[in-house]
Every structure is written in C-alpha cells, then in structure tokens.
C-alpha cells in the first residue's frame, strides 16, 4: 500500500474531524480516535475508541496499525481538553484531566508512533498547542501550562528522534470555532483576538495549511519548531 498512513487523535469533531477528512481527500489512509464513537464515516478512514491517556488502549490502537499497515507516516496529536477557570476555582480533578489528556496523551502517542516510524526511518509528528501559552492568558492556567509542557516535549523529542528520520513540530492556533472555546464569553474572545496582529478567528484551513507544511516530505530539515497562527509569537 503506497498511500501514506496518518494517525490523528481527537477526530470525532472540530479540528480533528476536519483534518481527517482533509487528509483522506489528499489520498492518505487516516486512522482517528476519540473517547467515544464518531457519528461520521468515510472511505479510507478508520476510527478507534480510545482514551489517549490510557496506555493499554493506546497500545491496542498501535497494535492494530502495525497489523494492518506495518507502517505509520504521520501523527497529529490534536486531542485536547481545556479548563477555563480562575486558578482558585479550578478543581484538582480538572487539573489532572487536562494534564492526562494534553501531556500524558501526547507523550504516549509520540512514543508509540516513533517506535513504528523508526522502522522505516521516516516520520512526521505534529503536536497541537495554543496561543494561551505565549499570551499567558488569565483563566487558562492549567490549559496553558499543559501546552507549555507539550511545547517542551516537542523540542526534546525533535532532538531524540532526529537520528531516526522523524521530525516533531508544534502548531498553536488562535481561537477557532470549536467546542473547546464554546464556554468562553464572546467579549473575552474579542479581547483576545484584538491582541493578534491579524485580528480574526483561525479557520480549519489555516490549521491544515501548517500541518500540510510540516507533513511535507520536503520539510525534512524542519523540526523542534512551534508555529503560532495570527502573528502571535
């Protein structure tokens, strides 16, 4: 099978669903996962139900990929949860859930993906982060901190996996119209967007434009980078 194999986490809805459909359209075989069943189907797309922070569930997904394809070209770590609260009002349960999904989940998928990718000495990993980290957004302490951890993970993994022909990069979207920001007030979002050099919401196409660049075979000399949309740095 010559189609590239692309694994994307958090594909039930939002950015993940868009990216899954985008890469199927581009001729990839896409594997997606989420904590519950997806309510959509597509040829050349296979969905698994898995909590990204559950090691045995994640290993099962990779066992299936190994049996079916014996290769993995691309991983996009998109699954993420946010906790938008003042830190003094953030329950420990929320803290743990955000860290488990965003940090532990990203780590597990990177680790297992790299094991498969290194067999062919080729791979592309893209981790989704957030502008909440460089903007130090109030009310998003744990979310921003968890994605800061993913930034650092990206940079260290880029070094560790370089010898295996695997690049690891990150992409930080500005607010995008997804469930993740539904709980944030319109007023707060408008204020946030006014801090961007380019003042608009990100579109799914803006995100795919960057993932296309990172996944490109020609991007073999690009690793350990974090690119924020909208002009944020």
């Amino acid at each position: 099978m010559d189609s590239p194999v692309t694994l994307i986490t958090g594909t039930r809805k939002g950015i993940g669903k868009f990216l899954a459909q985008h890469y199927v359209e581009r001729g990839h075989f896409v594997i997606g996962c989420s904590r519950s069943e997806a309510d959509w189907q597509l040829a050349h797309y296979q969905h698994y139900v898995a909590d990204v922070s559950d090691e045995s569930a994640v290993k099962n997904v990779f066992s299936e990929i190994r049996k079916k394809f014996d290769r993995l070209d691309h991983l996009i770590n998109n699954a993420g949860v946010a906790s938008m609260n003042h830190s003094l009002l953030t329950p420990l349960r929320s803290v743990r859930q955000v860290l488990e999904t965003n940090v532990v989940g990203t780590f597990l998928f990177c680790r297992e993906a790299a094991k498969l990718m290194q067999q062919r000495r080729y791979g592309r990993i893209v981790n989704l982060v957030t502008v909440a980290t460089p903007l130090k957004l109030e009310g998003e302490a744990i979310y921003a901190a968890s994605k800061a951890a993913v930034n650092t993970l990206t940079q260290v993994l880029a070094r560790e996996l370089a010898e295996m022909g695997i690049t690891v990069n990150a992409l930080g979207p500005t607010p995008t119209d997804t469930d993740l920001i539904r709980a944030v007030s319109r007023d707060k979002l408008e204020r946030l967007i006014r801090r961007q050099p380019i003042q608009r919401y990100a579109s799914f196409e803006d995100i795919a434009n960057v993932t296309d660049f990172y996944l490109d075979r020609k991007s073999e000399f690009i690793t350990g980078q974090t690119l924020f949309l909208g002009g944020i740095s």
Binding site: K59, S63, R66, K115, Q118, Q119, E163, M164
Partner: protein, 99 residues
C-alpha cells in the same frame, strides 16, 4: 522458552545488523554481548533493538511487554548486557503477564 526467546532476539538482532555499524556480533549465541562494556551497540542501537524485540514478542506470543522500564534499568546486572540475559528478562515478564 528461553531457547525460543534467544532465537527470537538473535533473529531480530540479525535483521537490525543490516543497518548497524558496527554490527552486533552474534556468533556467541546466548553469550553474545549487546549493550555495556562488552557490547558494541550504541544507545540508539539499543533503543532500536528493544523496540524490535518487543514487537517480535507481541507478534509471536500475542503479549505486549515493556522491556525498558524502571526495573530493567535498576537491576544490578543489566538485562541488556547479552542475548541470554535479555531472554531471561523477557521470560520473567512473560511469566508475570500470564500469572
């Protein structure tokens, strides 16, 4: 079981040797050194070997074990020092998994 695991490790290491410089000397069989003072594997070579052995064990025995964990790195005698030691360690993990 140990014989089976030794053969599995030697087969896996033989495949890896195509991309290793210097290659692992496998003529010593069970005593063939892997990683450490007597071994010729680099740390990256060890990572590749561990991953390949884990995958081969999963394919042959249907069990996903983790060879590189806190215990394997804290043992007084490294399970990665030679083929026999790695086979013993993998066997211990397989027995624990069945138990």
């Amino acid at each position: 079981m140990k014989e089976k695991l030794c053969k599995l490790i030697i087969d896996v290491a033989g495949d890896l040797n195509e991309n290793l410089d210097p290659p692992i000397r496998l003529d010593g069989g069970e005593d063939a050194p892997l990683y450490g003072p007597d071994g010729r594997l680099s740390s990256l070579g060890l990572v590749s070997l561990i991953i390949a052995v884990e995958q081969a064990i999963e394919e042959q025995f249907g069990v996903a074990i983790t060879l590189a964990d806190e215990r394997s790195f804290s043992l007084s005698q490294s399970p990665f020092r030679n083929v026999g030691a790695l086979a013993d360690y993998a066997n211990t993990l397989l027995i624990e998994h069945q138990g």
